[in-house]
Amino acid sequence: MEKDIKFFTNGKRIDGRAIDELRNIKIEVGVFKRADGSSYIEWGGNKIYCAVYGPREAYPRFLQKSDRAILKCRYNMASFAVEERKRPGPSRRGVEIGKVTQGALEPALLLENFPKCMVEVNIEVIQADAGTRCAGITAASVALANAGIPMKELVPACAAGKVDDKIVLDLCKEEDNYGQADLPLALLPRRNEFSLLQMDGDLSEEQLEEALDLGRKGCLEVYEIQKEALKKKYVKEDVSNE
């Protein structure tokens, strides 16, 4: 671990952001023709594609639920997505993130409308720059809406963390690697409930409360961007035809 990294200069962070400021987020909707729904997100240096298939018949058959659809999430990182070459193929980390993504998205979907079916979510990380699971969940939620799958609400996600004993929003690469804590969150905005809460590092009880509040604020900002992206797809087409 590097010891002499300076996280704050004149109250600004390494990349010039304020403590409660998100990185730049850009979401595109419907980028793939063959998928039922798709999205592309650029979140700081993260570049992630997401494709959704379904609802369609669930295979293998023994996974079918007679009263609802199942949700399958797959998270994969390209071998060139990180600084050092990542060994391609499924990994312990990829399986875990797929699992937590499923857990984060499932409470928001109305899967009981499609018995015996499955909905597949594929998240492909092309370039990673800290916070890929949050960016992945954000993109997946938009892609699910684009696929026309009924849901209670969109799921925005965002991380909070602790750097130099200060609670900050949306950690960048250095803060993630050399900081003190990372707290990825996914929010159900209307219900005000978290559907993803993980923690790496340590936080005191007060710090956790503070981080949750800051994370919630960040998620709501992401939520606005998600809504804008979905609407923009149709409004933009309007203009091009006039």
Partner: protein, 226 residues
């Protein structure tokens, strides 16, 4: 009772539409006393009801719908049809034939890949779809081609009181049959089929933008004068 969005505006899932006791049809969900959209779609507000017509999504089978499907597999006494729904639809021999035929070899009646126009007789509790194609005009579609579009855009292909489909048929002299599931069967002269196909894809792409019939008319006129 209070509306939070304008009639015919685009809503995203989770967006509040109205507050109070409303009759709601589909595309909406209730949270506490608020009615929220559950899909990406366009809101329609009527006197006492709200609904959201989705912009994307698969076809959900309903009883009584006319659909166009392709045979994907043959069972001892029935065929399985792909009708763009999440599930395969089942067509039993009894419901398929107008008169008695030798049913020892079903492949002689409908082969895998055949296009069939059928009516949904029933959608079961566990979403199994039962079709029938006994009476006219149901049955096998010979020749022609099938164009696939989003099932949510089918009403736009038909138009108000059938205006759009009438326009297409009159101007190109093609036979067109529209399935509620988004499969459209066209038969006519080859160039005309091409033109209809392009027009239908245009409708699919621009379904949510007003003034569609005029634009399609203009497009057909320019294409036909070539």
């Amino acid at each position: 009772m209070e509306f939070l969005v304008k009639d015919r505006s685009i809503v995203t899932p989770g967006m509040a539409i109205a507050k109070g006791p409303f009759r709601y049809e589909y595309g909406v969900d209730k949270f506490e006393d608020t009615i929220i959209s559950s899909v990406l779609g366009i809101v329609y507000i009527e006197n006492d009801g709200v609904k959201v017509v989705p912009l994307e999504g698969k076809y959900m089978p309903k009883r009584g719908d006319d659909v166009i499907g392709t045979v994907v597999s043959i069972n001892p006494l029935s065929w399985d049809l792909d009708i763009n729904a999440p599930y395969l639809a089942n067509l039993h021999v009894q419901d398929a034939l107008r008169y008695v035929k030798d049913t020892s070899n079903l492949e002689r009646i409908f082969k895998v890949g055949d296009v069939i126009y059928a009516n949904i007789r029933d959608v079961g509790e566990s979403s199994d779809i039962v079709l029938q194609s006994k009476e006219r005009p149901y049955g096998k579609m010979k020749w022609g081609r099938v164009v696939k579009i989003h099932a949510t855009r089918v009403p736009r292909v038909i138009g108000k009181k059938g205006s759009m489909i009438k326009l297409l048929k009159q101007m190109t002299k093609c036979e067109i049959t529209v399935g509620q599931n988004g499969n459209i069967w066209i038969k006519g002269e080859r160039q005309m089929e091409d033109i209809v196909e392009r027009a239908i894809f245009k409708i699919d792409k621009e379904a949510h933008i007003p003034g569609l019939t005029d634009r399609i008319k203009k497009m057909l006129e320019t294409e036909l004068s070539r």
